[in-house]
């Protein structure tokens, strides 16, 4: 760390500065872009990470006992909690053999000063839609599995994702939280009473949800139209010129390549991102499996 700070000093000529910490702070608030650039020039980032390095990812599952499945994910400072509640509903006429998955991402004013109270803003809405798309594209859960009685009764999985601390890279954290929470979800047993035609639920007897695929995302930022960095923090996100999120599953199939505009990217650069995303997928799947198994072992 000390060495990296030195690099910055050289480019800024610190001798003219009175006090070193004050100098750094001023540069960061007055010229945030220059501040970041000076680090990127040295192939590192202001928090000491490499360009293609993720922050520490911590996963905690089953922490909310009122939810049917839950997970808390920390990606550096970014914290996302996912709670899954299952409810019963009638399937639609168009898809009588399918259940529902309803994911929603919320960015409450609690998680950062940039979000205001009230209905979800554009970022939260876009994130909700992205998560919904990932669920559909990756087939992480097949909605057929949620059917209880064809045309009559099915499960609705309300996947409520809430950000508790916003420090960039919301989408990656959301996908991990969702996946871990789904793997943690246990649905109660339902039988249809043949006489009254009404469902009976045995809350004690629960079975696990079948998770078909393990999609994991990796988000990138493009700085100055050329430099790719992985897992951006919120400061980096607001300064960069483009965002990219690649979601892959365990078979190295792509479930989403989401780039909502920004500066252009060549196919070659995109390939680099996909490679990094594949590595990340293995890393996270291993983490989730290990944590899930640790809970099972403890029981």
């Amino acid at each position: 760390m000390r060495y990296k700070v030195k690099c910055v000093c050289d480019s800024f000529n610190p001798r003219k500065c009175l006090s070193f910490p004050l100098f750094l702070h001023t540069v960061r608030t007055a010229e945030p872009l220059e501040y970041h650039r000076s680090y990127l020039k040295e192939n590192c980032r202001h928090d000491g990470r490499e360009l293609s390095e993720f922050r520490t990812t911590t996963l905690n599952i089953g922490s909310i006992s009122t939810a049917d499945g839950s997970a808390l994910v920390k990606l550096g400072n970014t914290t996302v909690i996912c709670g899954i509640k299952a409810e019963l509903a009638n399937p639609t006429v168009e898809a009588p053999g399918k259940g529902y998955i309803v994911p929603n991402v919320d960015l409450p004013p609690l998680c950062s000063s940039r979000f205001r109270p009230g209905p979800p803003g554009e970022q939260a809405q876009a994130a909700s839609q992205f998560i919904a798309d990932v669920i559909e594209s990756s087939e992480v859960i097949q909605t057929e599995d949620l059917c209880i009685d064809r045309g009559k009764l099915c499960w609705v999985l309300y996947c409520d994702l809430m950000c508790l601390d916003y420090d960039g890279n919301l989408l990656d954290a959301c996908i991990i939280a969702l996946l871990a929470a789904l793997k943690n979800t246990k649905l109660p047993e339902v039988t249809i009473n043949t006489e009254t035609c009404s469902p009976e639920v045995n809350l004690e007897k629960r079975r696990e949800l079948h998770v078909h695929k393990h999609p994991v995302g990796a988000s990138f930022c493009i700085f100055d139209n050329s430099i790719l960095i992985v897992d951006p923090m919120s400061e980096e996100e607001s300064l960069c010129t483009a965002h990219l999120t690649v979601v892959t599953d365990e078979e190295e199939r792509l479930c989403a390549v989401h780039k909502p505009g920004g500066t252009s990217l060549s196919g070659e650069k995109l390939q680099e991102c996909i490679t990094r995303a594949a590595t990340r997928q293995r890393e996270i799947q291993k983490l989730i499996d290990k944590v899930i198994n640790s809970v099972k072992a403890a029981q």
């Binding site: 798309d133 990219l244 599953d249 500066t263 252009s264």
Partner: protein, 219 residues
């Protein structure tokens, strides 16, 4: 995967009419087969204090579905179109002002997002806003047999295994925006990008032709 049906890899007939509305500063309707989107642009104009950005113009994109109110899906498409436009527009030339782009879906018969992008670009051109490059949208579908279909219709979209929409810039033909649905392999992705790049040539040629036609009498 190497075999392509001749019918799949083509763009449906497409067309565009500019300046068709009197109120907006720029307007265009873009038609791809039966899919049609109307776009209107207002600005640069006064901006709300809460949305003001000190060093560039604020761009707002609104997408109006044909039936019902805009939902989360429209919001995510708005985001895609907005950030694509932001990348190509020279917004820093109009600091502290607002640009509004409204997209009205007139008919959806597949490839809606790419049609919206094309309509947006034509409307921005009609409004005479300074841009660093043009952009166009191309949608590719991969059917169950792994064949690539460009500019799919709604029926083809429904039967496809994966759907990708790319925005390509006119300068370097690189990917400005990417939105995908369904799962696909890396190779398929790269192929679709390459196809979109070559299809974008046709659309850019069309842009050039229509501008040439439009100003043929003034030149």
């Amino acid at each position: 995967m190497e075999v392509y049906g001749s019918s799949g890899v083509s763009l449906r007939e497409f067309g565009c009419e500019q300046s068709l509305l009197s109120r907006p500063d720029g307007s265009a309707s873009f038609i791809q087969g039966d899919t049609s989107v109307l776009a209107g642009v207002y600005g640069p104009a006064e901006v709300k204090v809460s949305k003001e950005i000190y060093d560039r113009a604020t761009l707002e994109v609104l997408m109006q579905p044909k039936v019902g109110l805009p939902s989360v899906r429209e919001r995510s498409q708005e985001q895609c179109v907005r950030e694509t436009c932001e990348a190509s527009l020279l917004l820093s030339l109009h600091p502290r002002s607002s640009l509004t782009l409204i997209l009205q879906v007139l008919h959806d018969d597949g490839s809606l997002l790419s049609c919206s992008l094309n309509a947006a670009c034509m409307a921005l051109m009609d409004a005479g806003l300074p841009m660093s490059c043009l952009f166009c949208g191309v949608t590719c579908a991969i059917d169950t047999e792994g064949r690539i279909i460009t500019d799919p219709t709604a029926a083809q979209e429904k039967e496809s295994r994966a759907l990708m929409t790319f925005a390509i810039d006119s300068k370097e033909h690189r990917v400005l925006m990417s939105a995908t649905k369904g799962s696909f392999s890396v190779n398929e992705l790269q192929q679709c990008i390459a196809v979109s790049q070559s299809a974008s040539e046709k659309i850019f040629q069309f842009y050039r032709d229509s501008v040439r036609r439009r100003y043929s009498k003034t030149l």
